[in-house]
């Protein structure tokens, strides 16, 4: 969090209403997102209690474990969940496009992909756990479960993993996305409360957001008071209706909040790079689908050495790209870099479009641009720069001082003797340059898993999910 965000929070606190920290939306928002609000039984790691979910705000599905103490019912519940989620996920597999790749076979990429929206990060974590607890199950053998359950497990595992991938929008945590676009007048810790955060963004703060009687927790954990006074007696009574109704009172308010969050995000125009990141999501999603179709085993309990390193590399790459793209898409994000002197913006005061360097054959066109700026520039001469106004273009800082910065354009101004029209900004145009650039070379290859070196424990015994996984009782 930068001083810019801190200032926004101060302002929010003072004015009693959240302040924007983004001018565009930085996540993809599906036309039919699947809102998913899971509840779990307190004191258990992944014992489901209920879930409200659906793509239609007017027709939520409520799935309840009508006797939470009964383990078989939990799997029945998982099967029900699969009955809703799998058709949704698979509905995106049919329409695909063919993608050509350099030195690799072309592949089929889904035109659209599923998007699961959960209330908060603990919701994401629970989704992952749910995946972990179901993906190793077998529909045959000693402790059989319905066919769909292990498949659901693999998808949930995949989605839960992907949620940790910077810039991915397959799974959104409402509080996180809202927090990325608005600064509330409370601490980031308190922002984890969906009702509270939405309160700040819409009507202003109020203590009722923290009153479980008015706004029940958005899950997966339920309110202890509710457990003691409502749920426990209901379970004692053994009445399925009563348990169902009790749980409905706990998820329904959150259901409304979730769609409110979706609307708020939808109201923002999408940043230019969002499509590109969603494209990667679609690719990843299609990849997973193929993986499953090929009958690959369920994801192992934990990553092997090579997998871990590969994931880390991808995630770091994605994080870096995500940061740069957000800054290029959004002046308010770029402002954070201007504040620290890694970027500057201002009016073009003067240009030398036909400036050249070198002599004879090595003579190169290097148009000069002088920018008048109020920003503190903390970049040494020679720093290579990029600019949101002309994304293809590369520039280099020549000198900076007295509110005037000279840069020379080094690439993306055309091949000719004179710069291509529009390549060099006009005097008076507002431009922004930054040392933040999105040119990363790929990371070098990793060994094959079976070639894992002795320093990392040598080749792993390839993983076969055993009955142990399948029969692990689910308490």
């Amino acid at each position: 969090m930068s001083l810019l965000t801190s200032l926004a929070r101060l302002r929010a606190l003072d004015e009693g209403i959240a302040q924007p920290v983004a001018t565009v939306r930085h996540c993809h928002l599906s036309d039919r997102p699947m809102v998913f609000i899971p509840l779990k039984l307190s004191g258990e790691s992944a014992a489901p209690l209920a879930a409200m979910l659906g793509t239609d705000r007017d027709r939520p599905r409520l799935l309840v474990v009508t006797q939470p103490r009964n383990r078989d019912l939990r799997f029945a519940w998982a099967a029900e969940l699969a009955g809703v989620l799998l058709p949704y996920v698979e509905s995106f597999l049919n329409d695909t496009e063919t993608v050509e790749r350099r030195n690799a076979d072309p592949y089929e990429r889904a035109l659209d992909a599923p998007q699961i929206v959960v209330p908060n990060l603990t919701g994401v974590a629970f989704t992952r756990l749910l995946g972990r607890s179901t993906r190793f199950r077998r529909s045959d053998g000693p402790y059989p479960v319905p066919e769909a359950v292990p498949l659901l497990g693999r998808w949930l595992t995949y989605l839960g993993e992907r949620a940790a991938y910077p810039g991915s929008s397959l799974v959104l945590a409402a509080t996180e996305e809202l927090g990325r676009h608005w600064a509330s007048g409370q601490s980031s810790l308190e922002d984890a409360n969906l009702a509270a955060l939405l309160g700040w963004i819409t009507t202003g703060p109020g203590d009722e957001a923290e009153d479980p009687l008015i706004w029940p927790p958005a899950g997966p954990a339920t309110d202890p008071g509710f457990d003691a006074e409502v749920l426990a007696p209901a379970i004692e009574s053994g009445s399925a209706e009563r348990i169902t109704e009790a749980l409905r009172t706990q998820v329904e308010p959150t259901w409304r909040l979730m769609w409110q969050a979706v609307d708020l995000l939808a109201a923002l125009p999408a940043g230019p790079s969002v499509t590109q990141r969603w494209e990667q999501d679609r690719g990843s999603f299609s990849g997973m689908a193929v993986h499953l179709a090929e009958g690959a085993p369920p994801q192992p309990r934990r990553d092997g050495a090579v997998t871990a390193a590969a994931k880390l590399a991808r995630m770091e790459r994605a994080q870096a790209a995500y940061d740069v793209q957000r800054a290029y898409d959004d002046p308010l994000v770029m402002a954070e870099y201007r504040l620290t002197g890694e970027a500057f913006a201002g009016e073009v005061a003067e240009t030398v479009p036909d400036h050249t360097e070198g002599e004879g054959r090595s003579r190169k066109l290097r148009p000069l641009v002088v920018i008048k700026t109020d920003d503190p520039v903390r970049l040494p001469p020679g720093t290579s720069l990029g600019t949101p106004q002309r994304r293809g273009q590369g520039a280099e800082l020549v000198e900076a001082g007295e509110g005037l910065v000279t840069v020379k354009i080094t690439k993306g101004m055309g091949r000719g003797k004179v710069a291509a029209p529009g390549a060099v900004p006009e005097v008076g145009e507002r431009v922004c340059y930054t040392s933040l650039t999105d040119d990363f070379q790929g990371s070098p290859a990793l060994p094959e898993a079976e070639a894992t070196p002795w320093t990392h424990g040598g080749p792993p015994h390839d993983y076969v999910p055993d009955d142990e996984d399948a029969q692990e009782e689910w308490s």
């Binding site: 969090m1 001083l3 810019l4 801190s6 200032l7 926004a8 929070r9 101060l10 302002r11 606190l13 003072d14 924007p20 001018t23 039984l41 307190s42 004191g43 258990e44 790691s45 992944a46 756990l129 972990r132 607890s133 007048g185 409370q186 601490s187 980031s188 810790l189 308190e190 923290e210 339920t222 309110d223 202890p224 008071g225 457990d227 003691a228 749920l231 426990a232 309990r301 934990r302 002046p331 308010l332 402002a335 201007r338 504040l339 109020d374 920003d375 503190p376 692990e472 009782e473 689910w474 308490s475």
Partner: protein
């Protein structure tokens, strides 16, 4: 030494602070929580005086947001019972697998078999016998009762189990019902367990020292027992609590140096809740609130998960318009600027920077300029 006398009258002063309110005994969790926010004078004084912060908060109309679900509680008890069932059969299995406990080592003592009032003495006796390697030194001690001096008062501590004879060393066994899934557990839950276990380790070491044994006989590796994955089957993991021990020692020494804080206090200051016969506080709320306001708190949002008084202090911070509300990081970023109004004044330029505020003022104005530029 003169320390003794000072020690004496500051204990006296603390009792004055507490007044008629019965001393709230510290348990392991409370002691472990001393490190949660050591910078907070208000909390230090209330803990030192042994005031029931939870009761105070409720009386003040700011009940703490904590509560434990009956399901969680039941689950906890059921799991502990499972681990200890049939002479700790499960525990023995794990100790054999994890620490190579010899098969012959199965002897089990349930300290609770003696009357409650004798548990501590009995624990002492059993531990002494074990440590002096006497014949039939026990292996498992169930429901032992240890003690520790906190700010002049004795706190009684109840570890789940103490295991002996793992290479002649004592191990604290901590049974928790949060799950270990594929070898990992919720780091904050583990941390809490480790802090609590550290209290037991220290208490047991102190006991051994008093009995003239080598305190190092108590291992700094505690045995954490949790349900594995999604099954009920317990799994044991060794947790190294040396760091937690260091922190704990630090905090306990701080407790004895409360004088510094006490000296600053007005003589008439008291946190007394004036409980009636059935323990209900009768002291006028405004009066109690005022008394608390006269001590400085160091509110941070982290308190919301650690301190019973958090809502009271947050409310106070709101009244004062303190930037602490927004979290330690923001507060730190703002350098010396403590109040929201001040910070915004500097940002808008409606307020001139005081001595030493020039830089933060410049930064804030710059930030404000950028925000306006981008939002209009």
């Amino acid at each position: 030494m003169s320390g003794l006398k000072r020690e004496g009258d500051h204990v006296h002063r603390l009792e004055a602070l507490r007044g008629a309110t019965p001393q709230q005994p510290h348990d392991a969790r409370a002691i472990a929580a001393l490190a949660a926010n050591p910078g907070c004078t208000r909390r230090a004084l209330m803990d030192g005086a042994g005031i029931d912060k939870d009761a105070a908060a409720r009386h003040l109309g700011f009940p703490a947001p904590f509560g434990q679900s009956p399901f969680a509680i039941t689950r906890g008890n059921v799991f502990e019972a499972l681990v200890k069932a049939d002479g700790c059969a499960e525990l023995l299995r794990m100790l054999r697998e994890l620490l190579g406990l010899p098969v012959a080592e199965v002897s089990y003592h349930d300290v609770e078999n003696v009357g409650a009032h004798l548990r501590h003495a009995h624990t002492r006796a059993l531990i002494d016998r074990a440590a002096s390697e006497g014949r039939d030194a026990g292996t498992l001690y169930d429901h032992p009762l240890l003690s520790m001096e906190i700010a002049g008062h004795t706190a009684y501590l109840e570890p789940d189990v103490v295991a002996f004879q793992l290479g002649g060393r004592f191990h604290i066994v901590e049974i928790k019902s949060f799950a270990v899934i594929d070898g990992q557990a919720d780091p904050s839950a583990v941390a809490a367990a480790a802090r609590q276990a550290a209290v037991y380790v220290l208490a047991l070491r102190t006991l051994l020292e008093e009995l003239g044994h080598d305190p190092a006989k108590v291992s700094h590796d505690v045995v954490l027992v949790c349900p594995e994955n999604f099954a009920n089957r317990p799994v044991a993991t060794l947790v190294d609590v040396r760091r937690q021990l260091a922190v704990l020692r630090r905090q306990l020494t701080r407790m004895t140096t409360l004088d510094r804080l006490l000296e600053g206090l007005p003589d008439d200051l008291s946190f007394d809740l004036r409980p009636d016969d059935d323990g209900r506080p009768t002291r006028p709320v405004a009066e109690l609130a005022d008394a608390l306001h006269r001590t400085t708190a160091r509110y941070a949002p982290d308190c919301l998960s650690a301190c019973d008084l958090c809502f009271f202090c947050r409310d106070e911070a709101r009244q004062e318009g303190a930037s602490d509300l927004l979290g330690r990081q923001v507060r730190d970023e703002l350098g010396g600027v403590a109040s929201v109004a001040e910070a915004l004044g500097l940002a808008d330029g409606t307020r001139d920077p005081a001595e030493g505020q020039e830089e933060i003022a410049r930064l804030l104005r710059n930030a404000e300029r950028l925000r306006r530029e981008c939002l209009t």
